[in-house]
Amino acid sequence: MKGNWKRFFLVRGAEVAGLALLAAVPLAVTNPFALGLLTLLAIYGILLIGLDVTVGYLGQVNLGHAAFLGIGAYTAGLTVTTLGGGMPIALVLAPALCFILGGLLALPALRLEGPQFALATLSFSALATTIINEWESLTQGAQGLQVPRPPIFGVALDAPDFYWLCLALLALVWMTMRNLLASRWGRAFEALRDSPIATDAMGVGTYRHKVIAFALGSSLGGLAGGLYAFNFQYLQPQSFTYELMVILLLGVVLGGRKSLWGAFVGAAFIVLLPNLLSNRLLFQIFSAIGLTAAVFAAGRGLAKKTTQPFQALAPVVAMGLLVGGSLLVANTEDWRKAIFALMLFSVVVGLPEGIMGFAAQLLTRLFRIAPPSLPAPASLESVLPAWPATGEPLLELKHLKRHFGGVHAVDGISLTVRAGHVHGLIGPNGSGKSTAVNVISGLYAPSGGEVLLHGKALPEGSLFKVAGHGVARTFQNLQLFGELSAIDNVMVALKDVFRVPLPLILLGLADAEEQRARAAALALLDLVGLRDKARARAKDLTYGAQRFLEIARALARKPELLILDEPAAGLAHPDAAELVKIIRRVHDLGVTIILIEHHMDVVSELCDVVTVLDGGKIIAEGPPDTVKRNPKVIEAYLGAVVEEEKAA
């Protein structure tokens, strides 16, 4: 527990100390210029935290955030000027409207992937600024909108007051977002980024989470916009265009994605740096520090051979250029933008995780901060309730068909999987096994036929809906949430544990539940022998461990039917033996299993019944030993003897 306290003090302490320090600045510094910059820093901090939700957590390039800042700013401004509302109302309305608009934009736009999503948000922002500009009767168009800064509850806000207000809101946003992102919501956002398919298959609705994440990020943009309006007190549509968006994206990438600190540091960079750069002396100091750091990092990286020469040397060269430039150029003013871009390169190339991504690793090592300790695992029985192994038909396929163009991958399969059985599905490559389970689990819609669970039709073509019926699966090509830790992978999928509603999560009142979830997840990790790897990132696990983790994750769904798609593929011998043990343990709990497998030894050891597919059709079915001797099966595996005359 000592480690826990140390961590708590260091991590929370840094936050509190940072906040206190920032809050104390107006007591010492009365320079309105400095105060103005810090106010802007607080506002941009909120803005970038919002942007990071989409860019960092959802992993989507969002080029519409500047527009939400503008919409928020105008909403707040108009609330005060046209509606005659006060600042509190304005600061509620602005994020609320942006939440709604963000949700509406996300509904259709998030179906788009990658660059197309980026371009959709870009065209949205072009549209938004055009409308603000053209709707002159409301927004005064290009002439700009003057916004007063109304008193709050009768108290007029001077510059330090307003700064404290912004800082307080930043602290509030920081706290709630920290709570949210550490909860199942944050995990779901990240899971979505790494594998939408698995997210759906684990019963976490991808679409809903995407929309909410986007709307949430947008609403923070709106809140920042409201503050922005009262800070500058003059709004103009041209402020919220592409150029600002680019700066915001740079802030997120520079600071480091997926991190509140990263967003804040990014904000500091884009707000303070340009102004610091115009002071030559400061500029020289900064670039010299940068050069020293880059040389040090490069030297270390090269000596330990952890970085490639280019990656190590690029920042050194960039920083060297900066130092040289600062000595040569008389007026840094003209070169600020180029300098900014140079720094950007060195970060993008040298520190792919951004400044805070790098700093976090460094600090963790420096202060030897241990990750928070884990609770004792829950009992397996409480996590995986036993199912009665009745031998009754559980899953029935009736004339199931799935065609791809002209290829009949599954061509009329009928079979019955009985409760409590391990049902093997074998056949040569391309015989339709994987397609069959993909249809069952809802990844593909069937082209014909039916899938019945307990005699009732399963939903078609939706992993998410099928997952809701107690069917869980693993994937032939691993679909782990690579950036998440092993325990988080399992926690994403946990069923029937999370009940605390969103408002309480935001307030940080979900600790007990999180702890219970961790205990449950640990029990499952223990089952597959990964308890000591709980904190490791999934993508850093060995291949075998990744396979086992997928099984543990699927079990978190408390499935009645578990589909294992080639769990042994690529496993070395000891791992394969371990796999057999794990499957047997799961089977003992009464979970019905469909096992696709090539290794006949595994199949014969585990399966009660084996169905053999070839060319999308069933060619044999029965106990493993019988099936193995079936001449049709042998022929399917070893190939037919080619008749000589045909070959001629």
């Binding site: 163009g405 490559n429 291949y543 080639e566 690529g570 290794h599 022929e635």
Partner: protein, 242 residues
């Protein structure tokens, strides 16, 4: 000629943290067909990928026509005379059949004008082997049936007149009748004297056409021998059906 057209010594390769190949040795003599068989996940396809450069080997040597090629980019290895018809065929769907074939001869042909004349002979040779492709020369490759796509993949590999050719799972996902057709083609290629390393899960069919065969198990060669020897070997059946 009994020189090795392709030789692999102590090949190690893998993906990420997983080491799939743990020391593979094999050789293919000029003008012979060698089969590489074994259960799924044994590392057959990985072996092919490590030979052709799609996957950089971690250790070991790959020699094509007496040149060491390990570590070279796939395109260099291809230009040195190794053709690889990959698993899953990988034809270029949005391109026409003929475009796919012409690309097969990419390194041998001029890149702008006059390639049609130079390619005509090769095209005729491939079309003679696969009359169906000739019928469908203008069709987009993505719209072909599985068997036709396999023929296209083989034909495309042949276009460069390779010194050695890797053919990975030509029967995958094909109906039995089509599989027989594919093997008939392999026989004709053999008759033409092509040097071929064939990965195939249909062991019996593969053994029918091969001069020599290797059986892979968990990342290394478990058994090697002539088809006649292997047919007698219990371990081969065991490798498949446990």
């Amino acid at each position: 000629m009994t020189t090795d057209m392709l030789r692999v010594d102590n090949l190690h390769a893998g993906y990420g943290l997983a080491e799939v190949l743990t020391g593979v040795n094999l050789e293919v003599k000029a003008g012979t067909v060698v089969a590489l068989i074994g259960a799924n996940g044994a590392g057959k396809t990985t072996t092919m990928r490590a030979i052709s450069g799609l996957l950089t080997p971690r250790q070991g040597r790959v020699v094509v026509a007496e040149k060491e090629v390990q570590g070279l980019p796939a395109s260099r290895i291809a230009r040195l005379g190794l053709a690889h018809a990959p698993e899953g065929r990988r034809v270029f769907g949005p391109l026409s059949v003929e475009d796919n074939l012409l690309l097969g001869a990419y390194s041998a042909l001029p890149h702008f004008f006059g390639f049609h004349g130079r390619a005509a002979a090769e095209l005729e040779r491939v079309y003679a082997l696969f009359p169906r492709l000739k019928e469908r020369r203008r069709q987009l490759a993505g719209t072909l049936s599985g068997g036709e796509q396999q023929m296209l993949a083989i034909g495309r590999a042949l276009m460069s007149r390779p010194k050695a050719m890797l053919l990975d799972e030509p029967s995958m996902g094909l109906a039995p009748v089509i599989v027989q057709e594919v093997f008939a083609i392999i026989r004709r290629l053999k008759a033409e004297g092509i040097t071929l390393l064939l990965v195939e899960q249909f062991a019996k069919s593969a053994l029918e056409v091969a001069d020599y065969a290797y059986v892979m198990e968990r990342g290394r060669i478990a058994v090697a021998g002539t088809p006649a020897e292997l047919r007698q070997d219990e371990r081969v059946l065991a490798a498949y059906l446990g």
